[in-house]
């Protein structure tokens, strides 16, 4: 007789023999890639706009979602929208320290906080980054006084406020999608327009499937049939529930698509690739 089998509580202890580590590895790779790319892209502060010519004027154009809305613009940069696009005008002196004078820094906190406190992403990164636990029935890092989300992680409860901002962004990005169908006031369609149109759709699928939204819109009620307004809430709740069941899928699709949109606008703006469109 040996000691009791498979009962030790140590990091990675498991009796599983399947490749349980694949899924957290994929998540780790996927999220890290996005973080690295988006940080780099935000750092650039240029080549996030294209409207037929470098620094072109006029109504319409492609704007990278990382840079929307644009608060300030450093007009010395290449591949940026006309200054009229900046909500607050030229780059202020007191923001001299922001890397690359990039307006992306000023807004990325909103989508970032939404995704960071998202009930799906929490699972993803708790498993892949903090190993609590790395996979089901695989030992996490033993802690003396495990607190879950009652200690430092208490801030996760702000998720619904992050969601409110995320909804604002859906409207902003939808506006950008409409703009992408115009160039110098003229309607048209380009590959970029399609890409920037799909972007808010996927983001909407993700944002409107939010668990907090599902709660606020109807889930908080115990009775769906007790009043007329409750019945309406129930219909809305069912729509959010439909999206909520696909939250993970939309989370990844929208994440990849946002990155892809930026890549596309950037490459077109830099002149590396040519946008196929109806304007030429």
């Amino acid at each position: 007789m040996t000691e009791v089998i498979g009962r030790e509580k140590s990091f990675l202890s498991t009796l599983r023999e399947d490749r349980w580590w694949i899924s957290p590895m994929l998540v780790l790779f996927g999220l890290l890639s996005f973080i690295v790319y988006s940080t780099w892209a935000a750092w650039q502060g240029e080549y996030f706009w294209w409207s037929g010519a470098l620094n072109a004027e006029g109504f319409g154009g492609y704007l990278s979602p990382f840079y929307s809305p644009t608060f300030f613009l450093d007009i010395t940069k290449e591949g940026i929208p006309p200054i009229s696009h900046a909500l607050f005008g030229e780059w202020p002196n007191w923001l001299w320290w922001l890397p690359g004078h990039s307006p992306a820094w000023l807004i990325l906190i909103f989508p970032l906080s939404f995704r960071f406190t998202c009930y799906y992403y929490r699972k993803a990164y708790y498993r892949a980054f903090t190993f609590s636990p790395p996979a089901c029935a695989v030992g996490g890092i033993p802690q003396k006084d495990y607190k879950g989300e009652t200690g430092v992680l208490l801030f996760q409860n702000i998720h619904r406020y992050a969601m409110y901002f995320a909804i604002v962004f859906i409207f902003l990005l939808s506006y950008d999608a409409v703009m992408a169908f115009f160039r110098d006031g003229e309607f048209g369609v380009g590959v970029g327009s399609i890409i920037l149109l799909i972007n808010p759709i996927l983001l909407g699928g993700y944002t409107f499937g939010c668990h907090s939204l599902r709660h606020l819109i109807g889930g908080r009620m115990d009775c769906f049939s007790c009043s007329h307004s409750a019945e309406h809430s129930h219909s809305r709740w069912k729509i959010v529930t439909y999206l909520n069941r696909r939250h993970q899928m939309f989370a990844w699709c929208s994440l990849v698509w946002v990155g892809l949109s930026d890549v596309y606008v950037r490459l077109v703006s830099m002149g590396v690739i040519t946008d196929l469109n109806t304007w030429v």
């Binding site: 007789m1 040996t2 000691e3 009791v4 089998i5 498979g6 009962r7 509580k9 498991t14 009796l15 599983r16 023999e17 399947d18 009930y119 929490r122 699972k123 708790y126 498993r127 609590s132 636990p133 996979a135 089901c136 029935a137 030992g139 996490g140 033993p142 802690q143 495990y146 607190k147 879950g148 989300e149 009652t150 992680l153 208490l154 409860n157 702000i158 998720h159 619904r160 668990h211 907090s212 599902r214 709660h215 606020l216 889930g219 908080r220 115990d222 009775c223 769906f224 049939s225 007790c226 129930h234 909520n244 069941r245 939250h247």
Partner: protein, 248 residues
């Protein structure tokens, strides 16, 4: 399907070993059938807990090749013919003997929960409670639970972090959800859910949902909605103010 190799934990909470067995497997057999065959032929005194053999009672919870499962609902043909099948007791609970564990902790959690308290209003009639199907569906979904405790076993808060004092576990979170979402229940359990039952201990890594043999959406439909109700009460200034103003 031929002769198959098994490794089954034999022993108690202090010492034990994986013992090799062989068993002839025929079509349609589940792991529990093989355990019974081994018990009858080679190991008369091998303890194993079971009842209905149809996935309805939740007695035969074990870990098969390291994964928490019901032995009666795990078919032998899920494993490749040359794979050795390893059966071990639930890790989160003390072993009584062989694959049988002491799950009494779970029964103590249930005692902490304020039971159903029917509202005494116009919908409580002599013909019973008046409730619409749409309103009871969420509660019914949770009541599919067969108390196999696989979710309790796989929950890392209970399994790895020894926080049994601080968290009731997924099974009882959905019991709480079934009561909180009951259209005719009058009791308020939100303070208890936050404090005594430890909703904040869960970091929603969803293993409970993955192992649930009844496919209950423990995380999405049970725990997260409860966490959101706790946010309403304790963390969201707007809903807190609303409650104050309208005394709801």
């Amino acid at each position: 399907m031929g002769n198959r190799k098994f490794k089954i934990y034999r022993g108690d909470n202090t010492k034990g070993e994986l013992v090799d067995y062989n068993c002839d497997v025929t079509e349609g057999m589940v792991v529990l059938d093989a355990m019974h065959r081994i018990q009858a032929d080679d190991a008369n005194d091998m303890a194993c807990r079971w009842n209905c053999k149809a996935g309805k009672c939740g007695s035969c919870s074990v870990e098969i090749n390291g994964r928490p499962k019901l032995a009666c609902m795990t078919r032998m043909n899920e494993y490749s013919p040359d794979e050795t099948i390893m059966i071990t007791p639930l890790k989160a609970f003390p072993i009584i003997k062989d694959t049988v564990t002491d799950v009494s902790w779970n029964y103590k959690q249930n005692l902490k929960i304020k039971p159903f308290s029917p509202a005494q209003n116009k919908n409580n009639t002599e013909k019973g409670l008046v409730m619409q199907q749409v309103d009871v569906e969420r509660t019914q979904h949770f009541r599919k639970c067969i108390e196999c405790y696989l979710c309790q076993n796989v929950c890392h808060v209970i399994r790895d972090q020894d926080a049994k004092e601080k968290f009731v576990g997924p099974r009882f979170m959905i019991r709480l959800a079934s009561l909180e979402m009951h259209p005719m229940d009058d009791a308020d359990r939100i303070p208890a859910i936050k404090e005594d039952h430890g909703s904040g201990m869960c970091n929603i890594t969803r293993c409970c949902t993955e192992v649930c043999p009844e496919d209950i959406q423990i995380t999405d439909d049970g725990i997260i909605p409860l966490k959101e109700r706790v946010v309403d009460r304790y963390f969201d200034p707007v809903t807190m103010l609303y409650r104050k103003l309208f005394k709801k």
